[in-house]
């Protein structure tokens, strides 16, 4: 400990040592180079200085980076959550297929985002797309320098003082999440290959465009649209793409009777589904608080609390709503409800007070139940409720930011204008509505176009009736998930 203390006293005495560090670091900013030289005149003792000085200088970067990376790891872990929610909500005969999709979606995302997506989303460019540093995240960059000191082609991320690879990795896990949302919605009938190719397009093109508009310095960013952690960027984008996929695929065999009756097709494991939601809730503590992209203690604590309260409130409100409508508390609905609360609080988490998060959560839980009923009524067959959760509540959460925003709740909230209910009128709500609408149009159109072209160019994107009945596991993979169990499958 003492040596660190000494470090602090003596840190400025060894500018050459500092330069050495600068040379070694691939991203050392050259701008402030004179400062240590000036400082060097005051401190006497020479020993241990290089390491100590470096150590202190690195502390903020290091702390920000470990926070961002740990948060990113948690978000990565959400892939497991999605995989389990989706497979749990589908039938045993499609389990391998769904798990495989959820697995490969992150692998494909990693490559697609490295090769193109990151540059398209965060590269300096025009109002719609990034144009510089497009491929392999190899544009000029002197991160972790921030603000005006930042010199590179990824200006949209110059507010966070972490290394470029930390920015890339954190953004990658978000991109993967958007792609994985689609997986559940199109489950139990889409061809494996079609989904893999869609993921490439989603993470390589659709998501980066939507993201550039909002987080990449594009048009919506300039209009004051806010989305702290991605109710729109991640969840609505995923949701619109999912909706397009569902429409192009049509419902599963047996889901809707000829008379229009809705037939439930129960998932094969509520254990999987429940594990999945717990893992997602856990991962969301990386998703939302991590979106500070800095070790900003006050904001992190605030965001984690609003996130949690919204999730808890939505769990209960969805449970109660379903209980009243159906007569019994339905676990599947409460699980969807929990996710709905998390999705809804994702945009406003840093901008609203804890009591507001409670209200947002309660509303999200009600909305998701009604949305599930609604989508079933209009014959949108979504095996896992991805549209009700991510689309409906992605939109709701984005709007809710415009209603409840309060710039004083934590340091990170300063960017917002007061919401409608806090007397801000349309100042913040206006851009939010604009953003919801624009993203809807852009993403839905791009997705429909993709599915349409896919259908034309390939043998169709849906498996045959026989394959669907006998299960995708056998037909797509020649495999079965539970060979030692006696299964009971009738549809």
């Amino acid at each position: 400990m003492l040596c660190l203390l000494a470090t602090l006293v003596l840190f400025a005495s060894s500018p050459t040592a500092v330069s050495a560090e600068e040379a070694k670091s691939p991203a050392a900013p050259g701008v402030a180079a004179s400062a240590p030289a000036e400082a060097a005149t005051t401190a006497p003792a020479p020993a241990f200085t290089k390491e100590m000085a470096d150590s202190i200088a690195n502390q903020k970067i290091a702390m920000d980076t470990i926070w961002v990376m740990i948060a990113a790891f948690l978000v990565f872990f959400m892939n497991l959550g999605f995989g389990l929610v989706e497979s749990g909500f589908c039938r045993a005969k499609n389990t391998v297929n769904i798990l495989f999709k959820n697995f490969v979606v992150f692998a494909v995302s990693s490559i697609a985002f490295l090769v193109l997506g990151f540059g398209l989303m965060f590269g300096d460019g025009n109002w719609l797309i990034g144009l510089k540093g497009l491929f392999f995240a190899t544009g000029a960059d002197n991160s972790p320098a921030t603000g005006d000191v930042y010199q590179g082609v990824y200006h949209a991320l110059n507010w966070t003082g972490v290394p470029l690879w930390a920015k890339f990795f954190f953004q990658l896990v978000f991109a993967g999440t958007a792609a994985t949302i689609v997986s559940g919605a199109v489950a139990e009938r889409i061809k494996f290959k079609a989904f893999v190719i869609f993921t490439l397009f989603m993470v390589g093109v659709i998501y980066p465009i939507g993201g550039h508009l909002i987080w990449g310095g594009g048009w919506l960013a300039s209009k004051g649209f806010l989305d702290f952690a991605g109710s729109t960027v991640v969840h609505s984008i995923g949701g619109w793409a999912a909706l397009a996929g569902i429409i192009m695929l049509g419902p599963r065999i047996g889901k809707y009777g000829p008379d229009g009756k809705v037939h439930a097709i129960p998932g094969h494991s509520m254990t999987s589904a429940a594990i999945g939601v717990f893992v997602l809730w856990f991962g969301w503590f990386g998703f939302n608080p991590g979106s500070t992209m800095a070790a900003d203690g006050l904001s992190i604590a605030h965001v984690a609390t609003t996130t949690n309260i919204a999730a808890a409130a939505a769990t209960l409100s969805s449970m109660i709503t379903a209980w009243m409508l159906l007569g019994k508390p339905d676990l599947g609905m409460a699980l969807n409800g929990c996710l709905a609360g998390l999705v809804a609080i994702t945009a406003p988490c840093a901008f609203v007070s804890v009591p507001s998060s409670l209200i947002i959560g309660i509303l999200a839980g009600i909305i998701v139940v009604l949305a599930v009923f609604f989508f079933d009524r209009i014959r949108i067959d979504d095996p896992v409720g991805a549209t009700a959760v991510h689309l409906a509540n992605g939109v709701f959460g984005t709007i809710a930011l415009g209603l409840f925003a309060d710039p004083t709740v934590c340091p990170a909230a300063a960017a917002a204008k007061p919401g409608l209910f806090l007397g801000g009128g349309m100042a913040q709500l206006g851009p939010q509505i604009l953003g919801v609408a624009l993203i809807a149009v852009v993403v839905f159109a791009l997705s429909m176009a993709f599915w349409f072209v896919s259908k034309l160019l390939s043998n169709g994107i849906r498996v045959s009736e026989e394959e669907e009945i006998e299960g995708l596991d056998y037909h797509e993979h020649g495999n079965s998930a539970y060979p030692n169990f006696q299964l009971v499958e009738r549809r």
Partner: protein
């Protein structure tokens, strides 16, 4: 009385049940079974190795009926379970000597 056993494809169970209900059959017992026959099994892959699954999932439906109902029941099942492809299954008819309803102790046709 007779006992009719039908081995059918799993996804045909609902149709068979409906077909039987329509002619007033109100009870039946159903089992998960695996069948081996002309319908070929398939090859599965597991971590790089292939293996043959030659027992295929089937449903066995058991219905006890008065002797005179047999032709109608058989005909109904054949119609409902038919796809025309290998593996549609078989119907077996056995003699049934006695039936007892546990709840009431009724016997014979009364108990069906």
């Amino acid at each position: 009385m007779k006992k009719i056993e039908a081995i059918v494809k799993p996804f045909k169970l609902e149709d068979v049940k409906k077909a039987l209900s329509e002619i007033g059959i109100t009870g039946m017992t159903v089992l998960e079974v695996k069948g081996f026959g002309r319908q070929k099994g398939h090859t599965e892959i597991y971590r790089g190795a292939e293996y043959v699954v030659d027992f295929l999932p089937k449903i066995k439906v058991e219905v006890a009926v008065p002797a005179e109902s047999v032709p109608a029941v058989v005909e109904r099942i054949v119609t409902a379970a038919h796809t025309g492809k290998f593996g549609d299954g078989k119907i077996f008819v056995y003699d049934l000597e006695e039936v007892v309803r546990i709840r009431t102790g009724e016997r014979g046709k009364e108990a069906l």
